[in-house]
């Protein structure tokens, strides 16, 4: 079975609003869960900026202590 666009899956799982059309903006709790799965990984400043840009409400995320880019 060929994979479908991932946005459809994220909508079906309730991470994205079903009306979201263009930009994918991730919910804060999903980002926290993803960061909690890789505690030893240190993201560079550019990587942090890339992640922050894809978060719907970056100020609501409990970022790790070393995190510099807060949105």
């Amino acid at each position: 079975m060929s994979p479908l666009p991932l946005n459809w899956c994220l909508k079906a799982l309730g991470y994205l609003n079903s009306r979201a059309k263009r930009r994918t903006l991730l919910p804060a709790d999903l980002v926290e869960a993803a960061l909690a799965r890789m505690p030893e990984r240190r993201f560079t400043r550019d990587e942090q900026a890339t992640i922050v840009r894809a978060v719907a409400k970056p100020t609501e995320v409990n970022w790790p202590e070393y995190w510099e880019v807060r949105g």
Partner: protein
């Protein structure tokens, strides 16, 4: 001396007096000082003759109107949205925006790229690598994302529909082996080329090197058409006991039809085979709606 009205506001058939002795000198002046070319004067004279019922002049004017319509059609540019450079730019921007979160999904381990897509990417330095990297989308969602969605407090998700189950793979799946081995290399490329730094303003580099794109032109300008300015001048004709304002072309066609209807057999013979053309010309003459309503009323 009473001031003469402008030629543009004359009643149809009432043409200005011209200084015919100065005909060889261009530009010509009418007696109230407006400038005209020789051709402009001659077509006004011929129009007056046609309006007065001269069949040969009427034939000439119909020829001129048809030549004008033909020139308009040949110069008309059909607008194709798909080929419009501005639309192309908007479409590309929209696609870019849709791909904006992809590097973040890969960085956070929410999504992954399967072996086939990874191998199709090729090596850096190969022709087309940059384009393929710019268009690369994550192919599969990680299994933990589905599990986490079901355990979320507040609004737990239901099972994914069957059509979407193919888009989810566990992280240790053999389909993702290349991603597990060389994922860091790809992520470094993605962050550099598609992260926020890639589109940041750089000093000394123009963000818009070729300048504003040229506007599009779909309608020919009046100056490009041989008789358009003359035929679209507004004139007054008596109709139904009052004066109505119409274009010269409409006035002529209306007058010729009335004359033919009254019993001018020569005019009738001229108009009858061209009736469809005449109605089409009148329809294409772009008369403002308010005037047309007046004309119909």
């Amino acid at each position: 001396m009473a001031k003469q009205p402008s030629v543009r506001s004359l009643k149809a058939g009432e043409e200005p007096e011209f200084d015919w002795e100065g005909l060889v000198l261009a530009p010509l002046h009418s007696s109230n000082g407006e400038m005209f070319s020789t051709a402009d004067v001659l077509i006004r004279k011929r129009y007056k003759q046609a309006f007065d019922g001269d069949v040969r002049a009427a034939r000439d004017m119909i020829k001129a109107a048809r030549a004008n319509a033909k020139a308009r059609k040949s110069q008309q540019v059909t607008y194709n949205e798909w080929d419009d450079p501005l639309e192309q730019r908007r479409r590309r921007a929209k696609e870019r925006e849709a791909r904006l979160a992809d590097p973040a999904l890969l960085l956070l381990g929410i999504a992954a790229v399967d072996n086939e897509a990874f191998r199709n990417l090729g090596e850096p330095g190969e022709p087309g690598f940059a384009g393929r990297l710019a268009r690369l989308r994550p192919t599969h969602l990680a299994q933990w994302v589905v599990d986490y969605a079901k355990s979320r407090s507040g609004h737990p998700a239901r099972d994914l529909p069957y059509s979407m189950t193919g888009s989810v793979l566990p992280e240790d799946h053999p389909e993702l082996s290349v991603w597990r081995e060389a994922g860091d290399w790809l992520l470094a490329h993605l962050v550099r080329t598609r992260g926020p730094g890639a589109t940041r303003f750089q000093e000394g580099i123009s963000p818009n090197p070729s300048g504003r794109p040229r506007g599009r032109k779909t309608e020919p300008e009046d100056e490009d058409l041989p008789f358009d300015r003359f035929f679209s001048e507004l004139t007054e004709i008596p109709a139904g006991g009052k004066l109505i304002t119409v274009t010269r072309l409409d006035a002529l066609i209306w007058k010729l039809m009335v004359e033919a209807g009254k019993g001018n057999d020569q005019l009738l013979n001229l108009l009858a085979p061209r009736m469809v053309d005449l109605v089409t010309l009148q329809w294409k003459s772009r008369v403002p709606t308010a005037i047309m309503e007046d004309y119909r009323g």
